[in-house]
Amino acid sequence: MMAPKDKKLGIYVHFPFCVRKCSYCDFYSASPVPGLTDRYIEILRKHAEMLSRKTDGYSADTVFFGGGTPTLAGGDGIKRVTEILCSNFNIEKGAEFTVEANPGTVDRNMLSDIRSAGVNRISFGLQSSVESELRVLGRIHSYEDFLRSYHSARDAGFDNINVDIMYAVPGQTAGSFASTLERVTRLCPEHISCYALKLEKGTRLESERDRYVFPDEDSEFSMYLSAAERLGSAGYRHYEISNYALEGKECRHNLRYWDCREYIGLGPSAHSFFMGTRYGYVADTDQYMNSVSAGEEPFSEYETVTEHGLESEYVMLRLRLGDGISDDEFLGRFGYGFGSKYEDRIKRFIDAGMMKTVSGRYFLTDEGMYISNYIISELI
């Protein structure tokens, strides 16, 4: 059985330019060249036109403009992208439309412009409120910059804001992380993403790892738990391993990923899950632009998901969520209950307090989420 044909889509647009690459970042990005942004947006237009036919009959209920640094496109650029999407896809009224913003790259005017263009959710990459940690991470902004940007967004009318923060940063302590948590919760954003720093191959931080002292497994774990606890008591629900939201403010676009629902991506390195196939585009802006202008889709990977593969993905992704897996929904999708099929394998995790089952739902506890690879690899 394939993904349910709700005929709804999420749309992801990648903006592959950054002022400077952060030391921990392994996403695809390049330095902006004057004039390139305009050309890139024209390529996005062409690509959207190509995809428009493919997605005939679908409506999009989420749009996510990520990067890179989408805000480098400026208010005008973002507006143009919005218009491109609206004229090629059936974007629902009330669709969630998120733009990722680097605190050093936005001001009040720009935020007002994009708000009036239809953007209704801003995601700020703060990472830390501690200057020394921001420096280690190679961020271009200060905590002050972030505060200014955040308040400007509120002033511009944004009532759905996410703030990204990080733990397990070199030099970070339980105390410094607690102060970042404290400052951020006091601002009352609707959504907080809280990520463990992961050393990715090929990043600056990874190549310089010997210069830094990283928190060990146990202190990282206690930072994770302290976030779950602090944010929980401030009214944020731990709805995904690294995501917390006030009731009803979960990121609907990201939930599509974790619920095995369809989405299409535009831009280099963007991925899609559409009509039972997962595919990705080349992570190179020039190649991407050349292919699209020649009328071709620049695939770099392409995999038709099998029935069994889809079930594995569903288990893997849904167990990231605080809601976990509903027996009824699982039955509806795969023809048998999750509990009856996985009973033997999940028993030890339930006994160990890593998993819980409440009224037909199976979900990982906070502790269980943090060893979810271990658990999921026994289930798939």
Binding site: D218, E220, N254, A270, H271, F349, N373, S377
Partner: protein, 603 residues
């Protein structure tokens, strides 16, 4: 006709490892026109891949060479190769008994070493005429005079005027061939006496059955003869006899006293043709067998298990195939609570074990788990019964034991004098009993120790090499069983004894060994759902303890649109990895981690 025997020379080449035995054999094959250089794969006599790689000879082989001497006469040379390692001493001695003479090859850059000495003594014991050969004279660091003096002083055989050669370049090898005729004796024996053939090797061939390599000491054996193995009394009809050509078997109608050749007689298993046994005529048997026959007993035992339990059958097939050509390999099925179904295997020694393990992994593509190697202990119980225990699992409880005895070997170590102190410390540490020490010359010493075999089978050889920068050499032979204060050390994971990790150790060593194993386990056990206590105990007494903390983190923090396929593959890989895990009670351990724990190298 004595003229026939006068033109036969049966000889071996003996040497310390790496002193150039195989290279010399190649050169002799070339120079006798038996094999042209073009035809010859390097080191033809060592025909197993593993042998070639390790540069050692595992099993004896023989080849018949034709040589035209400078005076124009035709000679037959039977070159009998011998295994070159301490584990195969008995087989070496039988091969030597098939000869009348031996070339003792000494590396001119190294001089006499432990195995030079050991092999020379074996040759002397076999009453062989020994012709020393100084090799590697092409190397700048060679010292011919020194090597010669050592042969005379240390071994006590004259070396004045002995051949000095380079097997590598071929220098003086022609002269050596003439010296084989003049210096080594022709065989003796009576062709008309009752048949006595010494078995010195055999191998299994799926068409011919067992091919038995023999030296005819007395009498004549013909196709169709009824023969008998003297140790078992079992009789066979000879199907074929012949000689060993460089490229295969050459059939002939008969073998006579003085000949070296093969016999086939539709023999089904190699176990029926024991090395050292005497083949005689069933109709006119010899009154007594040739001396020196022993039934070879394994000295070292270990459990061998497939890393993937489903491959138990493959492992059994592989062991059966290896046993076809290796009668000294012993195995029987055993079951371990921790490791499942596997085999208890007996080996002549550690090298033999390593070779078998490597062949199983390489030739049969098996992934293996082995338990700690064990020697055979003799346990006298209070009820008077004596048990032989080669598996720690079967070790009786202390209150039943009257006396425990362990095998002790007599070890010969030759080392440059500067390392004597370190080596004596090592032997002391391994519960060695000092016997004596001789100075070979101002630079090298020969030490003799009694050492418990169970101290040698753990990394002794590596430790010896590391304390002597690789220069010390070792040879040993089983001396006796001695009473000893032995205890059984058990390892508990999460409170459960892991049978496959138990071993028997001297009381004094128990604490140090226990701490080390607990430490190793802590390092190698992946964190799991629960905290895992690692304990080592003797009887009910816990003597070491470590804790493996519970798994806290195994998570991918970010998983968005582009991460899903990669992440799924990652988790599937993790799942595959887990399939290989073995459950030890409630604790999971990969085969690699298990093996790492048993690797008890120094520090």
């Amino acid at each position: 006709m004595s003229d026939r025997k006068d033109h036969i020379r049966n000889f071996s080449i003996v040497a310390h490892i790496d002193h150039g035995k195989s290279t010399l054999a190649d050169r002799i094959l070339e120079r006798t026109d038996t094999v042209s250089a073009r035809e010859m794969e390097e080191q033809l006599l060592d025909n197993m891949e593993l042998e070639r790689e390790r540069g050692i000879t595992i099993k004896a082989r023989a080849v018949r060479l034709l040589y035209k001497s400078k005076s124009g006469e035709d000679y037959i040379f039977n070159l009998i190769d011998t295994p070159g390692h301490v584990d195969f001493t008995y087989e070496v001695s039988r091969s030597l008994n098939a000869c009348d003479g031996a070339l003792l090859v000494v590396d001119a850059t190294q001089g006499v070493e432990a195995q030079t000495l050991a092999n020379a003594y074996l040759a002397i014991d076999a009453d062989l005429e020994i012709l020393p050969v100084i090799n590697k004279i092409d190397l700048p660091s060679s010292n011919i005079e020194k090597a010669r003096n050592e042969v005379e002083e240390v071994i006590g055989i004259p070396a004045e005027g002995c051949p000095v050669i380079s097997a590598k370049t071929g220098e003086n090898v022609d002269e050596l061939l003439e010296r084989i005729i003049t210096d080594l004796p022709a065989p003796s024996g009576d062709e008309n006496a009752p048949l006595k053939c010494l078995i010195f090797d055999s191998y299994y061939d799926s068409y011919l059955g067992v091919v038995v390599y023999v030296r005819v000491k007395d009498g004549t054996v013909r196709v169709g003869d009824r023969i008998m193995m003297m140790s078992t009394g079992i009789q066979y009809d000879v199907v074929e006899v012949g000689t060993m050509g460089a490229f295969g078997l050459d059939r002939c109608p008969e073998l006579r006293a003085g000949d070296v050749g093969f016999i086939t007689a539709a023999i089904k298993t190699i176990g029926e043709t024991r090395v050292g046994d005497t083949v005689t005529s069933a109709t006119n048997p010899a009154s007594e067998p040739l001396p020196g026959f022993k039934s070879v007993q394994p000295m070292v035992y270990a459990g061998i298990y497939p890393a993937d339990g489903a491959r138990y059958g493959d492992l059994r097939d592989a062991l059966e195939k290896l046993q076809l050509n290796d009668a000294s390999l012993f195995f029987e099925a055993e079951t371990s609570v921790a490791l499942g179904f596997g085999f208890r295997c007996g080996f002549l020694g550690l090298l033999h074990m390593e070779i078998i393990m490597e062949r199983l992994e390489r030739e049969f593509n098996l992934d293996l788990i082995t338990t700690a190697p064990s020697v055979i202990y003799e346990i006298k119980l209070r009820n008077g019964q004596v048990l032989k225990v080669d598996n720690p699992t079967n070790y009786p409880s202390p209150d039943e034991i009257e006396e425990a005895r362990e095998p002790v070997v007599k070890a010969t170590i030759i080392t440059p004098t500067e390392y004597v102190g370190g080596i004596m410390d090592l032997c002391q540490d391994r519960r060695g009993d000092y016997l004596d020490m001789k100075y070979i010359d101002s630079e090298r010493a020969e030490l003799h120790y009694y050492l418990p075999l169970n101290e040698i089978i753990y990394d002794f050889f590596d430790a010896l090499k590391s304390r002597s920068r690789g220069y010390a050499s070792l040879d040993y032979e089983l001396a006796e069983y001695r009473p000893s204060k032995l205890v059984k050390l058990d390892i508990l994971l999460n409170g459960d004894v892991v049978d496959a990790l138990s071993f028997i150790v001297h009381e004094e060593k128990a604490y140090a060994r226990a701490r080390k194993i607990a430490q190793r386990l802590k390092e190698n056990i992946p964190r799991q759902l629960f905290e895992i206590p690692v304990q080592a105990s003797v009887g009910s007494k816990i003597i070491a303890r470590e804790t493996v903390k519970a798994l806290r983190k195994d998570v991918l923090a970010k998983c968005y649109g582009g991460d899903i396929t990669r992440k799924k593959k990652l988790l599937e890989k993790q799942k595959e990895g887990k399939k290989r895990m073995r459950k030890f009670g409630s604790v999971e351990l990969s085969p690699e981690a298990f093996m790492a724990v048993l690797k008890l190298d120094e520090e």
